[in-house]
């Protein structure tokens, strides 16, 4: 019973930490896979919800003009317009990108099935197109609307059971899956940027993020310089893609604190549980302890036994908790294949230390009680 309590607390700790670390690392790993050096976003852009704050076409032009040491420093500015779509039961960010820029996202990853989409020439054309389509569909129920083409990654395809040619929808607009790409790309879902703007009713060439591809040969120091220069001319936040992981976890510090807090509370509860269990055990076994003392067991032996017993409880609980963590991870990833639970040896080590250390500490008081117990009283009365 107390073994289970410890196990559940340990599992909670490992799963919460694993889930937040896993998600952060997975997201930052994906962003860092983009073949560009700097990421630009509005200061009000929220990394968590990936929303708010817009970038303008004019700012892309300003960035293109930046020179470092008298030479052009930027090879290309890659705009990303973000949308949202519900697929496989979870809301996904949609990366609206120009088909010509797709290679920067794909890198060495292959298209597993299908192919890339084509885009319309301008967002205004897309807005008009989708408005017109919606009007026609309203008049005639059998009218076939041209859907928004999507490329999704393999993990999402597997999780949602999607194949090329499958129909789904983006809000009220029909969408179709045209390609499936190997997992590891920055977005799980890609759409042509102008069409995505159009579907969202945006007629201007706005974006939410710019990835900046610097001219080859710029070293880290110069990239840092370039990022600062970008901030000066655009008044937007620019950071090195390589540092994205750190930025993300700094952004999620509150989440991390919350997770740690929940885990600590779970552990404290579980140690209290052990303490109470051991406490009642010592009380219940008062007579037994006294008998052992009358037989010549030293008080030290009895203290040691009490501590050993709770230590054993905690060790078993910790081991069970670690096993349960793997079980829970399997369960989570089977039911929600898009969630990443990362179980790191470091955190298993922490769990073991906490489980065993906590066991020893929570055994102190009952152990002390066992020492204090008056054996004569226990032997004489009922």
């Amino acid at each position: 019973m107390s073994v289970l309590a410890v196990a559940i607390a340990i599992t909670l700790l490992l799963i919460l930490v694993g889930l937040s670390n896993g998600t952060l690392n997975e997201v930052s790993g994906r962003i860092e896979s983009v073949d560009a050096e700097i990421i630009v976003r509005d200061r009000h852009f929220d990394l968590g919800s990936m929303s708010g704050g817009t970038l303008w076409e004019r700012q892309a032009d300003q960035i293109m003009e930046i020179e470092i040491a008298g030479a052009p420093a930027v090879e290309r500015v890659i705009p990303v317009f973000l949308g949202r779509v519900k697929l496989a039961g979870l809301t996904q960010n949609v990366f609206g990108v120009c088909p010509e820029d797709f290679a920067y996202f794909a890198g060495p990853r292959r298209m597993v099935d299908g192919g890339l989409f084509e885009d319309m020439d301008a967002p205004l054309e897309a807005v008009e197109h989708f408005t017109e389509q919606a009007r026609l569909a309203e008049q005639d129920r059998d009218y076939r609307v041209t859907p928004l083409p999507l490329v999704i990654d393999e993990r999402l395809a597997n999780a949602g059971g999607f194949a090329v040619g499958d129909h789904t929808s983006y809000g009220d607009t029909p969408a179709v899956i045209v390609g499936i790409i190997e997992t590891g790309v920055a977005g799980r879902v890609f759409a042509p940027i102008n069409m995505l703007r159009g579907v969202n009713g945006i007629a201007a060439q706005t974006a939410h993020m710019f990835f900046v591809k610097a001219t080859p040969g710029l070293d880290t120091g110069n990239l840092q310089l370039l990022a600062e220069e970008i901030e000066t001319v655009t008044h937007r936040a620019a950071s090195l893609v390589a540092n994205y992981g750190q930025i993300l976890s700094a952004n999620f510090r509150n989440l991390t604190i919350f997770v740690s807090l929940v885990s600590v509370i779970a552990l404290v509860i579980c140690f209290l549980f052990i303490l109470v269990t051991m406490y009642t055990m010592v009380l219940e076994r008062g007579r037994e302890i006294a008998i052992l003392q009358s037989l010549g067991a030293a008080r030290w032996t009895i203290l040691r036994q009490t501590i050993q017993e709770s230590w054993l409880l905690c060790s078993l609980g910790t081991v069970l908790g670690i096993l349960m963590t793997y079980g829970a991870r399997w369960l989570i990833q089977t039911m929600q294949p898009l969630m990443t639970v990362e179980i790191r040896p470091f955190w298993i080590g922490v769990a073991v230390l906490i489980g065993i250390g906590g066991g020893a500490i929570s055994a102190m008081y009952p152990g002390y009680l066992a020492l204090r117990h008056d054996p004569v009283e226990a032997l004489s009365f009922d």
Binding site: R287, E288, A290, I291, L292, Q293, S294, L295, G296, A297, A298, R299, W300, T301, P375, V376, L379, S380, D382
Partner: protein, 223 residues
């Protein structure tokens, strides 16, 4: 002349419970020789059990001295007291105090384990000595009270202690069983030359002892 097994000089005991003080024993001078069978008698509450617990080193005296085998137990550490209990003393209680969840055999074996003895057949010999050879595998609850007390006695003597302390060992028994337990005590005393200190309320029980010590109000009334 050999020194006494137990010797107390001016032993006093006062229980303190917060500000409440209960003086229980006053100036007890007592000697028990090796292999001597002593019965302690006296009215309820006169301090017999308290004296016995002090002699058995389960309780410490408030003042006065207690010598065991010539050594002053007042100087003993907690561990040393436990060791003396373990090696030299066996306890028999009015309420048997067997561990209820394990068999009679194991009750004795547990004692052996605490004592660190690893003598083959010791448990069996102790069972045989109390006439319970065939009852070892029963749990205490499955035995009659007379039989339970026999197991408790077997546990107290299995390591061949120098002194057996028995607090009203027949107090919970009917007269037939009580008689047989007393016979067992005299037999053990005769054959093993073990000293016995037995508290009893019955004249008949006291009559099997070599000597009877009467107590009243925390003092020995017949020196």
């Amino acid at each position: 002349m050999t020194e006494a097994l137990i010797k107390t000089c001016g032993l006093c005991k006062t229980f303190r419970n917060g500000r409440l003080e209960t003086p229980v024993l006053h100036d007890i001078d007592l000697e028990i020789g090796r292999g001597e069978f002593v019965a302690i008698m006296g009215p309820s509450g006169c301090g017999k059990s308290t004296l016995m617990h002090i002699v058995g080193l389960m309780l410490s005296a408030s003042s006065g001295e207690i010598f065991i085998d010539g050594k002053n137990a007042a100087d003993f550490s907690d561990g040393q007291r436990a060791r003396v209990r373990r090696d030299k003393i066996g306890f028999v209680f009015q309420r048997f105090n067997l561990l209820p969840t394990i068999s009679a055999y194991k009750n004795i074996a547990v004692a052996e384990r605490i004592r660190g003895h690893k003598v083959d057949g010791q448990v069996d010999r102790a069972l045989a000595a109390v006439g319970m050879s065939d009852k070892g595998r029963f749990k205490p609850g499955q035995l009659s009270i007379g039989q339970q007390q026999r197991i408790a006695i077997a546990r107290a003597i299995s390591h061949e202690p120098a002194l057996v302390l028995a607090d009203e060992p027949t107090g919970n028994l009917d007269s037939g069983n009580a008689e047989r337990i007393l016979e067992l005590f005299s037999e053990i005393h005769r054959e093993r030359k073990v000293a016995i200190m037995m508290i009893t309320h019955s004249e008949a029980a006291a009559s099997v002892a070599d000597r009877v010590i009467h107590m009243a109000d925390g003092r020995i009334s017949n020196a």
